[in-house]
Subunit: 225 residues, 2 copies
Amino acid sequence: MFSSEVLPATKSERTRALIRDVALRSFRERGYDATTIRLIAQEAGVSVGTTNYHFASKNDLVQELYLDVQVAHRDAAAPLLAETTDFVERLGVVFRTGLAQLEPYHRFAPEFLSASMSPRSSMNPLSDESSPARDIVLGVFRDAVAGAKNSVPKEFREGLPSALLLAHLLLALFWVYDKSPGQQRPSRLLDGALKLVRLSLPLTRVPVLRGPLRELLDILAEVKV
Amino acid sequence: MFSSEVLPATKSERTRALIRDVALRSFRERGYDATTIRLIAQEAGVSVGTTNYHFASKNDLVQELYLDVQVAHRDAAAPLLAETTDFVERLGVVFRTGLAQLEPYHRFAPEFLSASMSPRSSMNPLSDESSPARDIVLGVFRDAVAGAKNSVPKEFREGLPSALLLAHLLLALFWVYDKSPGQQRPSRLLDGALKLVRLSLPLTRVPVLRGPLRELLDILAEVKV
């Protein structure tokens, strides 16, 4: 029942964990729009007041969902990252395990997208509110780059994880729009892009390309909402 | 008062054009959320029934807005495209004149984004409903590619306009998120990307890169909602 690693100690902590688990299941089974605080309270067997005490709004529960997904992403990527020091393979591991976490949500993805795309939404993956979940996936990309033996030149390494995070969000966007059976197209797009990255990798050492590439990374790294 | 090139002939056509112009001004001045059929009817001096007769929903008026923006985009790009046959300069013209059309809407862009991002929304720029407006900008990109003397190899030319349209939409997305004064960052991102495209252009003739590049273009060209 509790997805947290350590069993909650106090009654209040147990109630919070229960509400959280009920909400996360509801997001998976009903989607974003049909999940309400009232329904969650009812299914958790607590009052709306108790639910509000632990989570001030539905969006606070979305943040719990984000954390849950990103922790699962990190846990799925870790053992596979341990198996290779190849830069492009490591990127593939992070992007692929990231896509895999999203899979149960495809049916309701348009609802989550509508609610989260505005730069004014606290549910936006680039918002301040989303930074705990975002920092987890950013850390996974940072590890992927740091542990690679044939990475890009040092000057690109600092800005790269942020740019990779944006690429991850764009791949997720492509995945939301995809209607192919089993969402094969995002995987194919990823495979094609990684193949190009591998072939283009030596180009990051070509002096004339380094300046503009660095500029692009710097502008992309500034993306905040 | 009428933005159409030919003056509407019948009373019904004049009424339709009036409602349309009032709605487009309202989108610019009030944004998407605060624009209602009731308000438009009131300001046009017609009944809600008359407004609904000409435009079945607010989203039909959004399509008029899209058409207005894309026609202005095409008209702004045409004289500048006539001045150069350089491939990268021509792309720059289309992207830059595209961004310029969006400028009056920046304040309300998050509202339009929330309403249009779902692949289930008729307002989505990739929806069937949006195809008349989309075809205009696709045509501008097609012209830009066709009229260039130093373009990419022939095998890329068919899929390229669709990929450029997606790039245009992603640049618009970056623009929605941008808070820099005068939205300088989208322009800087564009300049940096065009510089890289110019330097990378010879690479589209490298045999080992052509396969994966072609694959990517094919997958991107399939994007529909």
